[in-house]
Amino acid sequence: MTVLTPRDEADLAEAVAEAAGAGTPLEIRGGGSRAGLGRPVQAEATLSTAGLSGITLYEPGALTLVVKAGTKVAEIEAALVAEGQMLPFEPMDHRALLGTEGEPTIGGVVACGVSGPRRIQAGACRDAMLGVRFVNGRGEAIKSGGRVMKNVTGYDLVKLICGSYGTLGVLSEISFKVLPKPEAEATLVREGLGAAAGVAALNLALGSPFGITGAAHLGGGAGGRTLLRIEGLTGSVGYRTGQLLGRLGTGWEAVSGAESAALWREVRDVARFAGRDGAVWRVSVKPADGPVLSENLSTAGLDHAALYDWGGGLIWLSTAETGDAGAGPIRRQTAALGGHATLVRASAATRAAVEVFEPEPATLARIAAGLRAKFDPAGILNPGRMRG
């Protein structure tokens, strides 16, 4: 397959305009580590963002980072660490879970709207985004937002582009709000609570004023491991750890530093499902509904394993990849409880046969299709990635 590798935004615009004119569907590719997300794309050419790489501007004193879309996440994280800062939303690395290779790019993070455990406190990827530049399906370079902390000038296309899987435009540059890396971190660990009591403990802590930045329960049934993270100035982390231990009851232990960080990398990357066969779903409901959803699935006879992040509101489900991989019972639950489910890992055949994203009510589906038609009239950008 032809691979187009534009060197700059003007080059990118030209390549897209040409493809639009010729009606050539493009598969947009960053590092390739998330290529299996969404539905399979039937493209005639690959458009790589590898040539759009580098940090355009980094002002630690203004907490602002502007990067080209093809920049490797590792390069960004290294630059931030050197200044004691970080991306607030702790993006997941999908490689282990999806079994992919390649270097994750920031454009892929944004296109897939990837956020990690800290999302509950510091916001999602979209919340850290101050501005974007992208090339729409007509081959026009468009900007929205900027590089300042507050901006209500015109419509917030930044949010619309984040998580649109390249179907509304090809990202060329993104500006982020970054945050100081916490001076200290600690994790409170409790073994054997079970999902219901574990998630209840997480929400007790999340309802306290102690600024929880991670709240996960790993493993279902009667056992499992419940984790709560606290970050900040050293004295403050110590104080809050003490307060929480006082409120949470017995059996909790505190770990800190690198040991704590390792626990959250595991949560972030859904490591427990990485080596496991079968399909993986990502479900968002309100936190207390997490264990309810899993129980109801068991009652409905769906064999599965569950991991809970975001206080129970983000559920990772491992199911057998047979039939619809569990789509029927899972979607009955999201419809009843309110929320949505995305099939994150499955073969291309399953992802083509099953609705990967939560089906939308007719009015919203019409609005989404209308937006796609305006941003990409020729239908050449990742066609089919989000909807058939």
């Binding site: 907490l63 602002t64 649109s164 001076e183 100035l233 004295g235 104080y239 968002s284 309110g338 919203l364």
Partner: protein, 478 residues
């Protein structure tokens, strides 16, 4: 200020329109007498006024649907209105328009502290949201200065911020879901009590769309556990530029305070005469920096902040030691806008600049003001670079409003030129509409207008706002 020529045909059909609206909402839900319409002729941008054709005040989503269907059927533009506190003319009507006010939709629908959200009708005031949950130890974070009066509907339309968004974010970061009535009168639920969207982030683009994509009738908002305590430190400097540099250094130091507010001398003196907050009168600028948490945590953060501040040779560094002192420090800041009214008429700008550019922009603003012979006071949320220069003028002197507006436009262009934007929290409305071309090119604006084309193909909702009139003309033709 130019507004589109009202459609004579619609005005001529007022009697029919009103009769149909009364039929849909009942007589007490429709205002149409000239003397009563005067109350809706402007919002907080009082320099521009025009009574609407009629006002509807629905109580439910169903009534909003009914009103929209009548207006759509008759081709009457709809101007959404929350509490009418917009500073950019977001709810300024035209003579052929119907104002759809949500002020009677002010009920709390659901409180769920276990899952940390509240669901409300969108006409509820910002402060009433916190009021509904504070007894349980929670609060709603966005806190615009007008929070006593302003409605959540308007907060969503303008993506409002406030003094504490440095730590907690603005409306869009705290909005989980909405019930939206489209221009075609369809009701859609977007988002909910769960996090993050299923498909495209429509919630993200609706928030801040200035009532142009639909009418938000209900909202699900994130609530947070109230901090154990909060305490400000007041720091006075010998120049505005040094104060601006100190802001950037505090941000850089690794501590993110919950708020950093800036006031210059003109503002300090006006505020002190008004509120008697005990501010130092000999400084050129002061910062109010607030830290949150337990007493020990506040101490830990303020120690870092004071260390940074001391590197900038402050003339005054006063740490609040009691609730009464904290309240006095904030009283001054919160009454600043009222106090400025004592100095004359004023225009309040809302540009945002990178924090690192604050010293440069403060200097540039002063130079521009001098070149116009007008006074400018500065009071703003410095931590996020959201400047609110207040241009003081005398509306009774012919030409002075126009001069003040021209100075305002120059200051906003300066903000854009250093990498900033026209508006951080007030919105574009009619006020900054014609400046949009300085921040965006034609393709950028068309892409935004195409979003409205999808949600509102007839451009019925708040049509004369946000986009330069010439740019939107062919679409508004209807």
């Amino acid at each position: 200020m130019e507004m589109p020529v009202p459609d004579r045909m619609i005005i001529d059909q007022k009697a029919t329109l009103v009769a149909r609206l009364v039929q849909a909402l009942g007589a007490d839900g429709v205002i149409h007498a000239a003397e009563e319409l005067r109350a809706y002729e402007c919002d907080a941008l009082t320099a521009y006024r025009c009574p609407p054709l009629a006002v509807v005040l629905p109580r439910t989503t169903a009534e909003v649907v009914a009103a929209i269907r009548v207006c759509a059927d008759m081709g009457a533009p709809i101007v959404p209105r929350g509490a009418g506190t917009s500073l950019s003319g977001g709810s300024l009507p035209t003579a052929d328009s119907v104002i759809l006010g949500v002020s009677r939709m002010n009920q709390v629908l659901e409180i769920d502290t276990a899952n940390r959200f509240i669901r409300v009708q969108a006409g509820i005031t910002n402060l009433a949201v916190t009021g509904a949950v504070e007894a349980q130890g929670f609060f709603y974070a966005p806190d615009p200065s007008s929070q006593l009066a302003c409605a959540i509907a308007g907060n969503i339309a303008m993506n409002s911020g406030g003094a504490h968004c440095l730590k907690y974010g603005v409306t869009t970061n705290n909005l989980l879901g909405v019930t939206l009535v489209t221009a075609a009168g369809e009701v859609v639920e977007i988002g909910g009590a769960h996090l993050d969207p299923a498909g495209y982030d429509l919630l993200g683009v609706i928030c801040g769309s200035e009532g142009q994509l639909g009418i938000v009738t209900e909202a699900t908002l994130r609530i947070l556990a109230s901090p154990e305590g909060a305490r400000p430190v007041l720091i006075g400097f010998a120049s505005s530029e040094v104060a601006g540099a100190c802001v950037a250094d505090i941000i850089r130091s690794g501590v993110i305070p919950v708020a950093i507010e800036f006031m210059d001398k003109l503002c300090i003196h006006a505020t002190e005469a008004h509120a008697k907050a005990g501010y130092p009168m000999d400084v050129e600028a002061l910062l109010i920096v607030e830290a949150e948490g337990s007493e020990a945590e506040i101490e830990e953060q303020l120690a870092c902040i004071k260390e940074v501040a001391n590197r900038h040779n402050p003339m005054v560094l006063r740490e609040s030691t009691s609730e009464a002192e904290s309240a006095a420090i904030w009283l001054g800041r919160k009454s600043a806008f009222g106090a400025m009214g004592q100095l004359g008429d004023y225009i309040c700008l809302d540009g945002v600049v990178p924090v690192s550019a604050l010293p440069e922009v403060l200097r540039g603003t002063a130079e521009l003001a001098a070149s116009y012979g007008l006074r400018v006071a500065n009071v703003f949320h410095a931590g996020d670079g959201n400047m609110h220069p207040l241009i003081i003028f005398d509306a009774n002197r012919p030409g002075e409003l126009e001069q003040a507006e021209a100075l305002g436009a120059d200051i906003l262009r300066l903000c854009v030129d250093v990498g900033g934007c026209l508006s951080g929290e007030h919105g574009v409305g009619v006020e900054k509409r014609e400046l949009m071309g300085h921040q965006f090119n034609a393709a950028d604006l068309v892409q935004q207008m195409e979003v409205k084309d999808v949600f509102d193909p007839g451009w019925l909702l708040n049509p004369a706002k946000v986009f330069p009139l010439a740019a939107s003309e062919s679409r508004r033709g209807g």
